[in-house]
């Protein structure tokens, strides 16, 4: 409880200077239980002089330093982006960032790119087993890599319909969005161990 109070005072929203808020704020208690979707024409992201992302709800408030996260990073990464004050409180949800202006869209894409460090595997060169550890050699969205995966049972998570999440021995995650879309060679490498 006390944490919330202090954090709120620290990152108190800066009230927009231009016009009066379009509608009176709802009862505070009620507010916590209702989802707020940010309207595309009133939502604008820009960068502070030092580069931290800020959110302005036009005609209402402007928040310094926001973070963005995907609500459905696996099944629908391009929609439902949740915008937060730091790590504390959700401001609202952007249904589809594509509806925003170009600058805002780019900032969201950049921020999401920084937040989600999950290389996507495009091609699997080789998976070789020795002593229960599988050495993977793969081409990913972030370069060609080799990594080791222990105990495929726990570290290869199959998510229906055909996604595969791989966690290596050092805790890094790799994503294969659609196993069936891999080329034949990669597919064979992987099927042997599934």
């Amino acid at each position: 409880m006390s944490e919330e109070a202090t954090s709120k005072s620290k990152d108190a929203p800066v009230v927009g200077s231009q016009a009066a808020p379009p509608e009176p704020p709802k009862v505070g208690d009620e507010d916590d239980f209702v989802v707020r979707y940010l309207e595309p024409d009133k939502t604008r992201l820009f960068r502070s002089p030092l580069g931290s992302p800020r959110l302005e709800i036009v005609g209402e408030v402007s928040y310094p330093r926001v973070t963005v996260r995907r609500l459905r990073p696996l099944s629908d990464p391009e929609h439902y982006v949740s915008v937060w004050i730091g790590d504390d409180r959700e401001i609202g949800i952007i249904r589809d960032p594509a509806e925003l202006d170009t600058d805002s869209r780019e900032i969201i894409a950049e921020e999401l790119g920084l937040r989600y460090f999950v290389p996507v595997i495009h091609r699997i060169v080789k998976v070789k087993e020795r002593f229960g550890v599988h050495d993977w050699q793969a081409e990913t969205s972030r370069g060609t890599l080799t990594f080791s995966v222990r105990g495929l049972h726990d570290n290869l998570k199959q998510i229906p319909p055909s996604r595969l999440l791989v966690t290596d021995v050092r805790g890094n995650r790799y994503d294969i969005p659609d196993v069936n879309a891999l080329d034949a060679h990669s597919y064979v490498q992987i099927q042997r161990h599934l």
């Binding site: 409880m1 916590d32 239980f33 209702v34 989802v35 996260r69 995907r70 609500l71 459905r72 990073p73 696996l74 099944s75 629908d76 439902y80 949740s82 937060w84 790590d87 409180r89 959700e90 949800i93 998570k157 998510i159 229906p160």
Partner: protein
């Protein structure tokens, strides 16, 4: 007339002697313990006007006028019990019985008490008599059953079960017939090469003298006509090669088709079993442990599958082999064939004995092996305790003992194997020796050709081998049939009534719930709820309060119609709950349990479980209302986070809020909160309370909570004690009354004070 056990002649005489009409007997039940506590027969008799106890000779031990009886109790003592009759201020221990009969007399006491209430006008209806004896013994042969639901292995009609398994073949007639033909063909073809030995020796490789001595068989003539050059040999070898090849190829088809058919069959049975399980009433699951149900699906059907895929081939092929070879041997030389039968009893009986022995030894060593595992598990899990008390040596000794035990039994099994298997082969060798001697004499006497003798010898092994294996294969067969029978037992159980004709349409439940003089027990003679009366208005929140075991959860089970009341009724919107279409009812009831169950899948899937096809925005909205959205958004995978058995580890409070979100999305008219906040800390509880307070709006809610403070939102509290509704009212009303609720609150306050003091000290 609920006559349990008919009175014997002596008892009837005794009644007549006492001036009672034997026709006036309402109930008679036998006991197995005398008045002095020794085993012996006796009788409990209820007539129109009296309650009596008779001894085994028919002498009247007690006689009390029924009108004087004010109460009946069954009292448990160690190893048995007694039926006590209360007659005003006095009481008598009417009859004694052992534990075996306790359920029966327990039911009698319950039934009689209700009957007395009815006699006194406290109840409107005479109690129904629906006593069902627990199925501990087989009804036909009195063999104790392994559990209540397994059919008697001795009385099971094996052929009927087998026919029923075969009835699953109906959709696959063509394949089944093909498999049968393939089996027949492969059997014949495997016998061919051996049979060819005869032609080889008598007709192809024979010296001219031998040819002259032996009249050719019809097949032999063909080969002899090719002359004594290499041609006949070449053709013979080619024939052999052909039969080998065809036999193997047919074998491939047979094996593939059989595997397909066996797997198809067991998958069909499994699918039917699983579908039926979901249609069964919860009573079925109650009486069995989850493990038993799981084993029905996995083990029994696995066992059946193993047999259908592999075992059946053995049985059929071995059967064909024995019959086929037997026929050939008798056809070739019936006299010699008779001699072959001499070691058969030895092989069959010896084999049977050997397999039984080995199986039991294996089983025993397996038991010891698991005990060894227990020892290891025990001392490794408790290694801190072991070290703390310096009991390493004790643990080592314990392990060594168990280890030695395993060794000794496994050695015995291996030694038995090493000893008797060769002996078994020796008995078969006797057969071969007989063939050599008797057949040899016939060859010397030119009664029989050398080829026939060699063929005989060749067939001999193939004849004895299936006989030797008969015992384990038949055992396998019979165990699979038992498994099949257990599966069929489930398939035959009554499914839950989803629709029984005269049902009321309740698309939109308003939420009025009324218990009317409701009595219910999971077992009819042990009521958990007694005469509950409660009328709940739509939208009202009722807190159910009481000690554990008071019947709170049972009330909820009845509202969900997991069970049906024994007497009295439960009405929703004025309709008898049993007449509401079950799908309508369940669709409009939402449950939040103490330990919410999350299925394997994503969080979004789990929230949307109650409403398949819900959009993600609906899911997010529900999660937000349940105070769950923010923690979900903080997970790396957000709503795609995998939960359930193999997924991420959520805390109790998180699971709870997900299940509340599920209930919110479900949007039920009647909401049930069963200890929804008991497994979380105070801080989380507050968050959940907030969520719940939003959830209960405009819904009829029943809430059970251990912490009474969490029921403060309730409109009314219903206090249960020992299955009876004792108090009902608002918190203030009940506190003023200073009754049971007051005491409960008081106790909890004291406990929480102690706790806060303790926290103050430790903090």
């Amino acid at each position: 007339m609920p006559e349990l056990d008919a009175l014997p002649a002596a008892g009837t005489h005794a009644l007549t002697a006492a001036g009672l009409d034997p026709a006036s007997v309402v109930l008679s039940a036998s006991t197995d313990v005398n008045a002095d506590g020794t085993f012996g027969e006796g009788w409990f008799v209820l007539t129109d006007g009296d309650v009596l106890a008779l001894d085994g000779q028919g002498a009247v031990l007690h006689r009390i006028a029924y009108a004087d009886v004010t109460g009946v109790r069954s009292e448990a003592v160690v190893g048995g019990g007694m039926l006590t009759i209360q007659a005003g201020a006095d009481a008598v221990d009417l009859i004694r019985y052992s534990n075996a009969l306790a359920p029966k007399f327990g039911y009698i006491a319950q039934w009689l008490s209700e009957r007395i209430e009815w006699r006194d006008g406290k109840k409107d209806n005479e109690p129904d008599w629906n006593y069902e004896e627990e199925r501990k013994f087989c009804k036909t042969c009195r063999l104790p059953l392994p559990d209540e639901f397994t059919p008697c292995p001795a009385c099971m009609k094996k052929h009927r079960v087998f026919l029923r398994i075969l009835s699953y073949l109906k959709p696959y007639k063509v394949q089944a017939i093909a498999v049968g033909l393939f089996m027949l063909a492969t059997t014949v073809l495997t016998l061919m090469p051996t049979y060819f030995t005869r032609i080889m020796i008598d007709d192809v490789l024979a010296t001219p003298e031998a040819l002259a001595a032996n009249p050719p068989t019809s097949l032999g003539k063909i080969f002899r006509s090719m002359g004594t050059g290499g041609l006949a040999l070449l053709v013979a070898v080619l024939c052999l090669a052909g039969s080998h090849a065809v036999s193997q190829i047919l074998g491939v088809f047979r094996g593939r088709l059989h595997a397909w058919l066996g797997l198809r069959l067991s998958a069909d049975i499994r699918a039917q079993l699983y579908e039926r399980l979901h249609g069964l009433s919860l009573r079925f699951f109650d009486k069995r442990q989850t493990g038993t149900v799981m084993s029905h699906i996995t083990e029994d059907s696995g066992r059946l599958q193993g047999f259908l895929v592999d075992g059946l081939q053995f049985v059929v092929m071995d059967g064909l082999m024995i019959v086929g070879i037997g026929a050939i041997l008798f056809w070739m030389n019936w006299k010699l064939a008779l001699f072959i039968l001499i070691p058969v009893p030895l092989v069959v009986l010896g084999g049977g004995w050997f397999w039984t022995k080995v199986r039991s030894l294996w089983h025993r060593s397996w038991r010891r092996r698991s005990k060894l595992f227990d020892v290891v598990n025990d001392s490794v899990s408790g290694v801190r305790v072991v070290r703390a008390f310096a009991q390493e040596n004790y643990e080592i000794t314990r392990f060594n003992d168990a280890n030695e035990d395993v060794r000794s039994y496994e050695t015995r099994a291996e030694m038995l194997w090493a000893t008797y298997f060769p002996l078994l082969w020796l008995s078969i060798d006797v057969g071969a020796l007989i063939v050599w001697y008797v057949g040899g004499r016939q060859v010397l006497g030119t009664e029989m050709s050398l080829g026939t003798l060699m063929t005989f010898n060749g067939f001999l092994w193939r004849f004895y081998e299936p006989l030797m294996h008969a015992s384990p294969v038949l055992n396998w067969f019979s165990r699979s049939l038992t498994a099949a029978e257990r599966i069929f037992e489930v398939l035959d159980s009554e499914p839950e009534q989803y629709d029984d004709g005269s049902l009321v349409d309740l698309q939109e439940i308003k939420g009025e719930v009324e218990f009317r003089d409701l009595t219910f027990g999971y077992e009819a003679h042990k009521p958990v709820l007694k005469g509950i009366d409660l009328h709940v208005k739509p939208g009202e929140m009722i807190g159910l309060v009481g000690h554990s075991g008071a019947g709170k959860s049972t009330m909820i089970n009845l509202i969900c119609r997991f069970y049906v009341a024994n007497s009295g009724g439960l009405f929703i919107d004025g309709e008898d709950i049993n007449r509401i279409r079950l799908s309508d009812l369940r669709r409009q009831i939402g449950v939040v349990l103490q330990e919410p169950y999350l299925f394997n899948g994503s969080i979004a899937d789990n929230i949307a479980y109650a409403k398949p096809g819900a959009t993600i925005e609906e899911v997010i909205e529900a999660a937000k209302a349940a105070n769950a959205h923010e923690f979900i958004a903080k997970f790396p995978d957000g709503y795609d986070t995998q939960v359930g058995e193999r997924g991420g580890r959520l805390s109790g409070g998180e699971r709870q809020r997900i299940s509340i979100a599920r209930a919110i999305l479900h949007n039920p008219r009647i909401l049930i909160l069963d200890e929804a906040t008991s497994s979380v800390d105070v801080h989380t509880e507050k968050k959940i309370q907030e969520a719940i307070s939003r959830l209960v709006q405009n819904r009829t809610t029943f809430a059970i909570a251990h912490r009474l403070s969490t029921l403060r939102n309730a409109n009314r509290l219903f206090v249960l004690e020992k299955g009876k509704g004792v108090e009902c009212g608002t918190h203030e009303e009940l506190m003023e009354k200073k009754g049971i609720y007051f005491k409960l609150v008081d106790t909890q306050r004291q406990t929480s004070e102690i706790r806060s003091q303790a926290e103050a000290v430790s903090g």
